[in-house]
């Protein structure tokens, strides 16, 4: 998908590779990628393979200065620390929530209070919204029987969620479509990692936002 859109927009895809979960030596893959002399490597994968790709890319001839970009799978506070200096300057796409939003601030305060620190990975706000929407839905459609059994109609719940409009969540004002997709386009951003994140600060500053 990424490759097709990228090509449409005028980019040239020099190589597409795949790695297995559990692999540690990415050198051969990276070397093969290096033969195409790319300007950017995009790897929307997870930890720890992503860390290894980022770190080892700096050691492969021809990729020393290539731009690295990951996706939300690597958007976690452990990533820059575990990757080390190779992560400096790397781009990550990830969920974006306006930090100045009052509701979100309240959420972060509660998090710090109950769990401590800041949420370690990206989708906390989405998860929060989704869970709340689901819970609201259950509350709305649940029917209590005479003998105390609670029935939650599957179709009713689905109808409720698909029909949801103007839900005011942390990730913005959400309205679901007929496929059940409720996310707004504003919820994603691109972040850039710097020395600070490698040394343990989190989350990274937003580089690009919608």
């Amino acid at each position: 998908m990424f490759a097709e859109v990228f090509a449409e927009l005028g980019g040239e895809v020099t190589a597409r590779e795949a790695v297995n979960v559990g692999d540690t030596d990415m050198k051969p893959v990276l070397t093969s990628i290096a033969t195409g002399a790319p300007e950017i490597i995009y790897f929307p994968i997870f930890e720890p393979e992503g860390n290894l790709i980022a770190a080892q890319s700096r050691e492969v001839a021809g990729l020393e200065t290539v731009i690295l970009m990951g996706a939300d799978g690597l958007f976690a506070d452990t990533f820059p620390e575990a990757t080390g200096s190779a992560a400096v300057g790397m781009y990550l796409s990830g969920p974006y929530v306006d930090v100045n939003d009052a509701d979100y601030k309240a959420f972060l305060d509660k998090w710090a209070d109950q769990i401590g620190g800041v949420p370690p990975s990206g989708f906390h706000a989405h998860a929060f919204d989704a869970t709340n929407m689901l819970l609201n839905g259950i509350e709305a459609v649940a029917v209590v029987d005479a003998d105390g059994t609670v029935h939650i109609g599957r179709q009713a719940l689905r109808d409720y969620l698909y029909g949801l409009k103007d839900y005011n969540g942390l990730t913005g004002n959400l309205t679901c479509n007929e496929n059940g997709d409720c996310a707004t386009g504003e919820a994603l951003g691109v972040f850039k990692l710097s020395e600070a994140e490698v040394n343990g600060s989190w989350p990274p500053p937003v580089f690009w936002q919608p």
Partner: protein, 354 residues
């Protein structure tokens, strides 16, 4: 006791020869096509080979542990991969601790030595416990019994570490003295860490060979691996020698764990599994029970894995050939076992009856 298998031409042998020939043709053809396309430069091949050598050195160190224990007990210590993991894991705590305290920055060399000692001690202690609790009561039991115990112990250790230390990825700190590259000639260069890994592994292997060949304990190990009861009649404390064998193998695995983490940095509870299987493959490739074979097998596998997928498959137009590297490694293992069941160097110890 030597047993001769009568080689008749039968359909099973024929089948295997056909499969073997087809694979060989694939390898040769693929290599030719890849090289002909000339996509990769000499520097890139060189980098891959050196990287394979470093990786292979680590495999070799782990493989020695399998081979030593196999030589003496005739069992695959399946849990050896977890012994490797435990060394790397506890070494991580030493490393980050010293990094945070600023010790690593001031005395990097001493720090590195402490990391190694921590890892090797951890691995050795775990191996002693394993031998004492799980394996020793089973001497003389049918062969499947210790093997299954070892599989059980492997999972137990792996998930105990998961329970104790969590599931997150932890990473060794970056140690400045081992970063960077050493230029050779032209565009050729080697990373410092690879030199260190290869040199350290070579040193430890040399130590092991000298130890087994020339020390009293080493000779006793060889004696015990040949005949336990006769060894006991010589006044050799067989149990003590077995424990020492475990300690030796485990220390090498612990050191391998640290070297591995100097290269890849990431520590997880399941990190032992794949290198463990690879090292075992290496031990079998070289001829299990034979330390020299384990080293050769490790180096061979490391290079083969690093170069193989690209060399054999890229030219054939297989997408993402690198994904298939384990397929190549295991296929090679099966082929070696079929056509040369005793490994490259041959099983040095008399083949025990299964």
């Amino acid at each position: 006791m030597q047993s001769y298998r009568i080689r008749r031409i039968n359909w099973t042998d024929l089948f295997m020869w056909v499969v073997g020939a087809a694979l060989l043709a694939l390898i040769v053809g693929g290599t030719y096509l890849t090289l002909q396309q000339g996509k990769f430069t000499a520097v890139q091949w060189f980098d891959l080979a050196v990287f394979g050598l470093a990786q292979g050195s680590v495999y070799a160190l782990i493989a020695l542990g399998y081979t030593l224990v196999y030589g003496i007990l005739r069992m695959i210590n399946f849990a050896h991969s977890e012994i490797f993991m435990s060394g790397a894991f506890i070494g991580y705590f030493a490393a980050t601790g010293m990094q945070r305290a600023g010790f690593m920055q001031e005395n990097p060399l001493l720090g590195i030595i402490i990391i190694f000692l921590t890892a090797m001690t951890t691995s050795a202690v775990l191996a002693i416990l394993l031998e004492r609790i799980a394996y020793r009561p089973l001497r003389g039991a049918p062969r499947l019994v210790p093997l299954i115990t070892a599989i059980g112990a492997s999972f137990f250790l792996q998930y105990t570490f998961r329970g104790l230390f969590g599931t997150q990825n932890r990473a060794y700190p970056e140690i400045d003295v081992i970063k960077g590259t050493v230029p050779l000639f032209g565009d050729f260069q080697i990373q410092k860490i690879q030199i260190i890994v290869i040199a350290a592994a070579a040193m430890m292997m040399a130590f092991l060979v000298l130890f087994v060949q020339y020390t009293k304990t080493g000779k006793a190990m060889r004696a015990v691996s040949e005949d336990k009861s006769v060894a006991a009649l010589m006044g050799i404390d067989v149990d003590a020698i077995i424990v020492r064998t475990f300690i030796l193998g485990a220390s090498l695995a612990g050191a391998a764990g640290v070297l591995y983490c100097f290269m890849f940095r990431i520590v997880t509870f399941y990190m032992g599994f794949i290198p463990g299987i690879k090292a075992f493959t290496a031990a079998v490739l070289g001829g299990i029970g034979n330390p020299a074979g384990a080293m050769l097998g490790g180096l061979f596998l490391g290079i083969f894995e690093s170069l193989g997928p690209t060399l054999f498959l890229d030219g054939l137009g297989v997408p993402a050939p690198y994904q298939l590297k384990d397929v190549i490694a295991f296929t090679m293992l099966v082929m070696v076992l079929i056509f040369r069941p005793t490994g490259i160097l041959g099983e040095r110890l008399s083949r025990a009856k299964a």
